[in-house]
């Protein structure tokens, strides 16, 4: 006799493999640089009730939870009785899909022997949806481009050509968008095919038993992890740079017997620029941060996500309501782990890292508007750099490393090969890691200019210029980010559009991570090694660590 739990586990493993396959196929076919460099996609398999069974572990946490909720919303909106094999539903509604218009969610009912037994879904970041383009300048969602409410994109295998034409007609990158949508369709179809093949191979006709097994096992494991935690409520306030004035993010984290509740009550209201965050996206990053520390070994699904609940007053900047502009929702969304860790560190002081640079240091460069007339090079670069991560309770922070996002940085040689840009320097920034028993990761010092006689346009949306990453448990703050133009030492704010003139040099310094524990407690060997490696200058070491070197 074959033991049935093993068989269910084999099927679970198969489902995990199938979503990873789907995810990889989607990344390979994608046109959007953020998908290619960061794996900004997701793929998932759902049961007939819309409960998520598996989700691909992809590059960025922005889809954790959002996909689980989105599929539930979509599957509830359309009656199963009206679904037919080959149908695929679609939306890019930021409040349903993933927080801004660029993220498209497709969902396909999976039929087996004439019945809907589940769904496959996937999300990918499309290059351009018209409007003002990717940037914080829109004053409402209508400025930001085309919104497609939940609708049927494919009917019995037939793509709705008009819908596709509308998406293309409203984009600066129609060909890329079309390619990306077809990639999403192929991803849904592949998942659906694999799922039915698996059912055939294992001789099952529905997903009930498998679904219950996955969800119950994962829920039980998560609850066991929660049971080990101290119970209570902890509060924290995180101040961030904002667009033109600083913003307070508030959180209260309650650890109860059988769930965690995060409440953003007290958080500042939405602003007039596109850095507002829909709750689904704030939830994604917050839950990601929690799950890094609580039950990290359990895969994402309806069972493991269920005990993590997030709420916030409507209209606060972490629960933006339509028609607030949300294009750059990731700028603040990526700060929410530091907000959450501010609470959690009070409950688990020896488990939670110090604050880090957290927000990606995007460096999107374009040709200037007059380039077409002047015959200059036309180009668009989506460079991403990162600062240092916060020191961990038992380890230094990581220098120049993305967290919480999972983006990949770029290479100087490939960038210079495709755009009129010349780098003069890209090195770690000495003394930028917050001092402490464990040191924060270092930020970077980057210098670049146009390699030809033409101006460059830069669209900034970064954080931690006014508010550096704070240390924890006596650790010191990391260095703030700094963006200047030489000659003239022109200091730039963290958000908005900048022209770098031919002959000028942009100096782009990413923030360091905060330190953990008192600097006095850092081991002399570690201090000595920092000095020898040039990560900390001797002068700084003298004053920070107060030791005779």
């Amino acid at each position: 006799m074959i033991q049935s739990d093993t068989r269910l586990q084999v099927m679970w493993n198969r489902l995990l493999a199938v979503v990873e396959e789907q995810g990889q196929a989607l990344i390979r076919a994608a046109f959007s640089p953020i998908v290619r460099e960061c794996g900004d996609i997701s793929a998932g398999i759902f049961d007939a009730q819309g409960r998520m069974l598996t989700q691909a572990v992809t590059g960025t946490p922005g889809h954790i939870n959002t996909m689980a909720e989105a599929a539930k919303t979509l599957s509830a909106q359309f009656a199963q009785s009206e679904m037919e094999p080959g149908d695929i539903y679609m939306t890019n509604d930021p409040w349903i899909a993933s927080g801004h218009l660029n993220d498209f969610l497709l969902m396909m009912p999976v039929f087996y022997r004439g019945t809907v037994i589940g769904y496959t879904a996937c999300t990918s970041h499309l290059v351009d949806l018209g409007g003002l383009g990717m940037g914080p300048e829109g004053s409402d969602i209508y400025d930001e481009g085309l919104l497609i409410p939940p609708c049927k994109l494919v009917s019995k295998g037939e793509v709705n050509a008009l819908l596709l034409e509308i998406v293309k007609a409203n984009s600066r990158e129609p060909i890329g968008n079309e390619g990306d949508i077809y990639a999403l369709i192929a991803c849904c179809e592949a998942g659906s095919l694999r799922l039915t093949q698996m059912m055939q191979e294992f001789g099952i006709t529905d997903l009930h038993a498998l679904s219950d097994y996955i969800i119950q096992t994962s829920r039980r494991g998560t609850l066991e992890a929660i049971a080990d935690l101290p119970k209570g409520t902890w509060h924290h306030v995180l101040k961030v740079d904002g667009y033109d004035e600083e913003i307070e993010l508030h959180a209260a984290l309650t650890i109860a017997e059988d769930h965690l509740l995060l409440d953003f009550d007290g958080t500042a209201a939405c602003v007039g620029k596109g850095i507002n965050v829909p709750l689904n996206y704030a939830t994604a990053y917050s839950v990601f941060a929690l799950r890094c520390i609580i039950g990290a070994d359990i895969p994402n699904n309806a069972g493991s996500l269920d005990p993590f609940r997030v709420t916030g007053p409507e209209g606060c900047i972490l629960n933006a309501q339509s028609p607030a502009p949300v294009a750059m929702r990731h700028t603040l969304g990526q700060m929410t782990p530091d907000l959450v860790y501010g609470c959690l560190s009070q409950a688990l002081p020896d488990k939670v890292p110090a604050e880090g640079a957290s927000c990606m240091y995007d460096l999107p460069l374009r040709h200037a508007p007059e380039a077409v007339d002047r015959g200059d090079d036309l180009f668009a670069l989506e460079l991403v750099f990162n600062g240092g991560t916060g020191a961990r309770p038992r380890l230094d922070g990581l220098s120049a490393t993305a967290f919480p996002s999972g983006v990949w940085g770029s290479q100087v040689e490939t960038t210079e090969a495709v755009a009129p840009v010349l780098f003069h320097r890209r090195e770690l920034k000495t003394d930028s890691g917050g001092a402490g028993r464990f040191r924060g990761g270092l930020g970077q010092h980057i210098e670049l200019s146009a390699s030809k006689d033409q101006d460059l346009m830069l669209f900034l949306s970064v954080e931690r210029i006014k508010n550096p990453a704070q240390g924890r448990d006596g650790g010191q703050d990391g260095a703030p980010g700094r963006i200047t133009v030489q000659p003239g030492d022109r200091s730039l704010p963290g958000k908005g559009e900048v022209r770098i003139r031919s002959g000028e040099t942009l100096i782009f310094e990413t923030p360091g991570g905060g330190g953990f524990g008192l600097p006095d407690e850092r081991s002399p060997e570690a201090v000595h090694n920092d000095i020898r490696s040039g990560l900390v200058s001797s002068d700084a070491a003298q004053s920070l660590y107060g030791k005779k070197i």
Binding site: N13, D297, N386, W408, G409, Q411, R426, L535
Partner: protein
């Protein structure tokens, strides 16, 4: 003669003039002095075949020494020199964590610490134009720093050196003048591709093992020459070709992972002999399983792989190395892989391995953890008396006890059910790895033939094939020493991949032809050293993609100069391949190329002539064993057959065990086996079993 020095065993194979195997042996690897184990194996096969060193007319060697030196960090003290302003190429890397949820992640150790990273002024641009001359006045300081660091080797990687190597060459001259004993690796020679982090890592890895490997190769050659070996020694490379000792000493990084490459070469050779155009090779040993896609008789190749991963099977946790390699997916699933139950009550198998010491619980050498081999024993698939040529006593009771304790207890299973579960999990993970690898390559597994070898490949082949929806499996002769056999069928070859950005619409044909001519000259020079006579073949490729995409598709180019009129054909070739992989093309999108490849190779040894197909007839079992059937989950009797006794044409119905010296082929109940004229076993899954 071919000698493959692996981590545990050294395999030696002797082939005669007609490409027939006349002797094989497995001897323990002598880690301190690997040449000694090799000599023992060589002496043994010569004695077995009744011949002597004077008659050996070809000698091919592969070794894990370079790989192990990298893993165990036994290389030279190494420094780096990069362009001023770019000291932290290594520290910054791709700015990412390899594991999303791991808060306490530690990044891989990339060999050279920041204290050993030096810089020099001078700058080239992406087109190879000099923007700033090399700072020759800075050499004195650099030399002083290198001396103070007491390094033995240095890796030089200057920005855009792939486009213009002048500064790297000049720097080597200047350094050599001051420090004649310094071992210097230049990035444009080791890996002339754009992407400074990858190129630097590759150059470091090369510099790091170079002193050790040069010394080893010198010693190895001297020892065999002393015995009377007269023919040249050729080295197996990761790309599946052979190269000379001189090239191997200069570019030892190309020798890593050459053993597994040999297995893929063997599978490709069998694919060609049997006319199978779509193959998956499945090489399962004691620690890992390796799978490789083989189309049109060529193993799939890649330009990059990772060494010394922080977490062995997690992509991105290691040091990237950009050299031409046979692309394989490797997972921690072998006979020694340990089974356990995690805190969610899920059964896990691998990636940790009991290795050969202490080994599976059944070995009785102190291992008490249940492994895949323990599970196979408990399922009745291994005859205890005939394991490893009968040289190793195995204890089925110990296997059962370990399974009952670690798996059966927590999951509430009898030991046989626990064994069954271990098999299900490990077979599923191998099938998944294969499917994933195929998907990543835009390919499908279901219509492929699996060619299975390695100590455990034939034992698990039908179970993995079923899960991967594959219907046919081939077990070659001497599957236990497959890699070494593969060495004997490799061509002498050299491949260069170099970066040169271009868009297809505005391709500079003359410039490109010159670019290829220089790559061809470089490759031919290397190949001629190992294959002085006979015609050379070549293969030119371009790695194309739509502008804006990251994934490149390899497109074969004509093996000669191009003309402007052929650009349309190149575009068509890309679109054909693109639509094969993605079902459609993107009509108005620009097509671009960053990397170009050129390989030059000699003819591989001729295939032995195909024998006539024999009339099929059912074979008679030499005995029967009770096995736990993987299809029905019930105990039932399986016929036992002795492989050497099965003549061409013999057929066997599953369930059955076909036993030979170094492994056992398990024929599942839904498969039947037939022996062909070459002695290969073909396993075919019954149609009716598929519903």
């Amino acid at each position: 003669m071919a000698i493959d020095i692996g981590g545990t065993f050294t395999d030696t194979v002797l082939l005669n003039r007609d490409s027939q195997i006349v002797a094989t042996t497995k001897t323990p690897t002598t880690a301190k002095r690997p040449a000694l184990g090799a000599l023992a194996g060589a002496t043994h096969v010569l004695e077995t075949a009744g011949t002597d060193w004077q008659k050996v007319s070809g000698f091919i060697h592969g070794t894990t020494l370079a790989t192990n030196a990298l893993i165990e960090r036994r290389g030279a003290a190494t420094a780096t020199i990069t362009t001023r302003g770019f000291r932290d190429i290594l520290e910054i890397a791709y700015e990412r964590r390899y594991s999303q949820y791991a808060i306490d992640l530690v990044k891989p150790d990339l060999i050279v610490p920041r204290t050993h990273s030096l810089t020099i002024g001078g700058r080239m641009d992406a087109n190879g134009q000099e923007l700033e001359a090399l700072d020759e006045t800075g050499i004195a300081l650099l030399v002083a720093e290198l001396k103070a660091l007491e390094v033995e080797a240095v890796a030089v990687c200057l920005l855009h050196s792939y486009a213009n190597p002048a500064h790297e060459l000049k720097l080597r001259d200047l350094l050599t003048r001051h420090m004649p004993d310094l071992v210097i690796s230049l990035s444009h020679e080791v890996s002339p591709e754009a992407r400074e982090f990858d190129r630097l890592c590759t150059t470091i890895a090369n510099a790091y093992v170079q002193p050790l490997m040069a010394g080893y190769l010198q010693d190895f050659e001297a020892r065999f020459r002393q015995l009377g070996l007269a023919c040249p020694i050729l080295m197996m490379t990761a790309g599946g070709g052979m190269t000379t000792l001189e090239t191997a000493s200069r570019l030892p990084i190309r020798l890593v992972e050459s053993g597994p490459a040999g297995g893929a070469v063997l599978a490709a050779r069998i694919a060609e002999a049997t006319g199978e155009k779509n193959v998956l090779s499945f090489d399962m040993g004691g620690t890992t399983a390796k799978l490789c896609l083989i189309d049109d008789f060529r193993p799939q190749t890649a330009r990059k792989f990772e060494i010394s991963r922080a977490e062995r099977y997690i992509r991105g946790s290691g040091m990237p190395v950009r050299i031409p390699v046979i692309e394989m997916i490797e997972i921690g699933a072998g006979g020694g892989s340990i089974a356990s139950v995690d805190r969610l009550g899920r059964l896990q198998v691998g990636p940790h391995s009991a290795g050969s010491d202490p080994g599976p619980a059944a070995f009785g050498k102190g291992g008490d953890k249940p492994t895949v081999t323990d599970s196979d024993l408990t399922l009745g698939l291994i005859e205890p008396g005939r394991f490893a040529e009968g040289r190793l006593q195995v204890d089925p009771d110990a296997a059962q006890r370990a399974l009952a304790k670690d798996i059966g207890g927590p999951l509430g299973l009898q030991s046989d059910q626990a064994a069954f579960a271990v098999s299900e999990i490990v077979d599923e993970s191998m099938a998944s790895a294969g499917r994933m690898h195929a998907v990543e390559s835009g390919k499908d597994l279901s219509n492929r033939v699996m060619i299975a070898f390695g100590g455990n490949g034939p034992l698990h082949a039908t179970r993995v094939a079923r899960r991967a929806q594959m219907r046919r499996v081939l077990i070659p002769r001497d599957p236990g020493v497959g890699s070494a056999v593969g060495f004997l069928f490799a061509p002498v070859s050299y491949e260069v991949i170099r970066s040169r950005y271009a868009q297809l619409d505005t391709l500079d044909i003359d410039g490109l032809n010159q670019f290829f001519a220089s790559m061809q000259a470089e490759a031919e020079q290397v190949v001629r050293a190992g294959a002085p006579d006979g015609p050379l073949l070549q293969r030119r490729v371009a790695y194309m993609r739509y502008h804006g995409q990251g994934h490149e598709i390899e497109i074969r180019l004509p093996d000669r100069e191009l003309t402007t009129s052929e650009i349309g054909a190149l575009k068509a070739a890309f679109e054909t391949e693109y639509s094969r992989q993605f079902s459609r093309i993107v009509p108005d999108m620009t097509i671009e190329v960053l990397n170009w490849g050129m390989s030059v190779y000699s003819h591989a040894p001729a295939q032995a002539p195909q024998s006539e197909t024999q009339n099929s007839h059912p074979a008679v079992p030499t005995g029967r064993r009770e096995i736990l059937c993987d299809v029905s989950g019930e105990w039932r009797a399986a016929g036992v057959f002795n492989r050497p006794d099965l003549p061409p044409g013999a057929t066997v119905n599953g369930p059955a065990l076909i036993v030979e010296a170094q492994t056992t082929t398990f024929v599942s109940a839904d498969f039947s086996a037939a022996v062909d004229g070459q002695g290969n076993i073909w396993l075919t899954r019954h149609e009716e079993a598929q519903k």
